[in-house]
Symmetry: C2
Subunit: 204 residues, 2 copies
């Protein structure tokens, strides 16, 4: 019952919890893999190179941009992030679905460039909660927090461009909804029509 690989794009403002959710859901499904983004920002505490991100310097990043290796790349809060096209193709070639955890600029670029894919927008239940989550992170100064909140506000206005919206009010509930979206998308008629044809042929 192998369907062709699907691309899931999880995006949203910082402070929404999209990375936590993305990690949980990739852990849950055997046949869903991350495409690990490249970034020029420093690792946060606990982040591992090649697992959470591929941490590269600015020079290396710009080389990749020039060679056209990124399917999307963006500058977010002064740091660069990008997804290598090769990484996605490798996962799909192995019969897996891909999940991208990317910022709103990157998701927009991707949608323009490739069109297909399932676009999921994760947002916090209120702007106040968004602020709290940013503050809890501990690596962002007070001015930066205000700047990020303004960015978050502008980004949330774009939620309607996405296929699905997850309001991350509690992590377990949001995780259940993200899981359900992936299972449901795999049950879309486009994913299963070959199996139906096989069943019809079984009538001989």
């Amino acid at each position: 019952m192998r369907r062709s690989g699907k691309l899931f794009v999880v995006s949203g403002p910082s402070g929404a919890g999209k990375s936590t959710l993305s990690k949980k859901v990739v852990d849950f499904f055997d046949d869903l893999r991350f495409s690990i983004s490249y970034t020029t920002r420093r690792p946060r505490q606990g982040e591992v190179d090649g697992v959470d991100y591929r941490f590269v310097d600015d020079e290396r990043f710009e080389e990749m941009v020039e060679r056209g290796e990124f399917i999307e790349h963006a500058c977010v809060h002064g740091k660069k992030y990008g997804t290598a096209e090769k990484d996605i193709k490798e996962i799909l070639a192995n019969g897996m679905d891909v999940l991208l955890d990317i910022d709103v600029q990157g998701a927009e670029q991707l949608a323009e460039k490739i069109g297909s894919g399932v676009y999921i927008f994760v947002l916090p239940p209120s702007m106040e909660e968004c602020r709290k989550r940013l503050m809890k992170r501990g690596d962002i100064g007070p001015e930066d927090i205000e700047k990020r909140l303004r960015t978050a506000f502008e980004e949330i206005k774009k939620a309607a461009d996405y296929d699905y919206i997850i309001i991350n009010d509690d992590l377990d509930g949001a995780f259940e909804r993200l899981k359900a979206i992936i299972i449901a998308e795999r049950s879309r008629k486009e994913s299963l029509i070959e199996d139906v044809e096989r069943i019809l042929r079984s009538a001989k």
Copy 2:
């Protein structure tokens, strides 16, 4: 976080297990209700009037047809089945989602008539399994089984007209997929855009 009511239509050939699945999923969600079909066929063992179906005689059924009370009605294997528009409206007015468990003809009529709704096609994993399930039911004669299998074959060809396809190979897996479809559809941007606007207003 109350969305506007959604209509889920579960259909498929007889022997696919759509009624068992539909019952399980309506039991699972507090805010999902059956619209109970009217039928002129006799109750099968264990079926309860007003719960599984509303069992009516031919005269009463035809009266309802003439008065235009049915949003869809069909004649399946010599027996009549119909969904009263009033029943659906009542459930939606109570802020609930509606699930219809109807045959393929009825689903086609509904799609033409109202357009909106989430259409889910349930089918058996093979024609052989379909035959086994029909035989196990015990209320269908051998000739009738062949007739139903031919009908099932023609109906399965229409699977591509639906939004989702569930191959009912094992009941637990199929139930998980049906649940996921309902949760995912409730996470579609159309269902949540009002909540997003509320979050934006929560700024300042």
